[in-house]
Symmetry: C2
Subunit: 315 residues, 2 copies
Amino acid sequence: MTVADLGEFGLIAAIAARLPRDGTTIVGIGDDAAVLAASPGSQVATMDLLVEGRHFRRDWSRPEDVGGKAAAQNLADVAAMGATPVALLVGLAAPGDLPVAWAVALVDGLAAECARAGATVAGGDVSSADTIMIAVTALGKLAGAPVTRAGARPGDVLAVVGVLGHSAAGLALLSAGLAEPASLIAAHRWPRPVYQAGPEAAALGATSMIDVSDGLVADLAHVAQASGAGIGIDTARLAPGADLEAAAAALSEPGPALALRWMLTGGEDHALAATFPPGTRLPAHWTVLGGVHEGHGVQVDGRPWAGPAGWDHFG
Amino acid sequence: MTVADLGEFGLIAAIAARLPRDGTTIVGIGDDAAVLAASPGSQVATMDLLVEGRHFRRDWSRPEDVGGKAAAQNLADVAAMGATPVALLVGLAAPGDLPVAWAVALVDGLAAECARAGATVAGGDVSSADTIMIAVTALGKLAGAPVTRAGARPGDVLAVVGVLGHSAAGLALLSAGLAEPASLIAAHRWPRPVYQAGPEAAALGATSMIDVSDGLVADLAHVAQASGAGIGIDTARLAPGADLEAAAAALSEPGPALALRWMLTGGEDHALAATFPPGTRLPAHWTVLGGVHEGHGVQVDGRPWAGPAGWDHFG
């Protein structure tokens, strides 16, 4: 059964039937727009596009993975403002010969990652197109002021929650036709950000925050620029795990260099990187990596970073 | 200059520079997510996808038109819930050889239609893709309860605000290589919904509402089904204007039949169709077209409608 067999309204009904409803969604799929319950604070909203062949490959990722990753990258953007995710809207453009089972499994992945974040899929759109394109909008609610990229101050501590370099290592393994360590390939297919660390950081007084989508150095460079300060990373604190070391060895680059490069430049893990006033008592799941100083740009072990920075979607 | 020349971050900066900011947007383009000011009521959110070759053609529409139409169809969905539009998020996937001027003009159209609706473009995403695809999310705020498709009751009055059939007539003219009446071609390229009629209808006690995106009969069929009632249209009240009559004549179908068919089945004008309790005093810009009765489906002049219904995106 293809999506063309089922038709637009049949596909929407099949998708809606997979989705749980929660008390936040006053009007869900099937009307002109979704309606979400009032919340006292300000709203957070973000959108990402995923294009087949550029952001995912159907031969490398199951549809559940594509959905889970699409949800994760958007929900992490909400968390990175210090907000709590509430709902997703999902647009799916696909060729008419796409199996309905693929579309439904995509939605299962989206819904599963939403459930991890405490959110639901509240609406969306479907259309035909020559290639698969997925648009995801994530909405969230803020208890207080947003944590932007612009508030880092000299003397602040830099800390992260979540893994670094796992997705990049998994992609390198897939590109080389390797299947182990499977944990890294799984991390590439479906990252698992620590959403609750976003509101937690806000409550702890974080002065800036970003989710690591393009790579730690590249994303911290955005924070440094927006804040008008320099940010230093101490690689002695970036201890690559056994899985990253094993992946580097499997790719014939034993030793710490490749594993460290993945941690500094690998994107798509959606770890949260935040700066905190000096003396902030951070829970143990935050790892201190360095600090903020007068100046500009990102320094790695005291030297300006000169390696490949990050990802440009038109580059 | 192409978008590939400018790069992802350059393109985002060029787009952001075109967009006005208003007091509702606490954090705009350039952070992980947009932040919008708190509003007391519930939130409305909707998304539409537009794919080149399916929803628009670059040889038939200027980029401003494509942007204006993309904004209009989403903002109208917000209005059709009885809500006031607040903000758009816009995703643009495009080939690297797309001229920057096209992308910037697209955003100009989006921003202009937002301004008509009292909203702003608050965020979005860009990506490369083989064909142009635009994803638009519209957000709105509700003063009271939403007006869904499900509340029409026998005895209610059916009324519309906005034009009917103009976009379909304009498309027929373009398909035939004709350029007149220009007003209809303009209506196809850039519809102008009457957004304020949405909250107005809610305040007047509308029992159901929908925006006419797929065609009057097709969209009222959704209302009839959701409400568990029948809806009757009296074609004597559907007086085709001189422009529709002229378009029909130009296409060698003089007389009222083609013009009426456009009004009954033409989509993309985004008129608002609503039902009101009997006796509701409607402002003059609402046109009464019929009413709600026991039963099901849509009747045109007392007979079940048997013509082509609407648009299926995978049909």
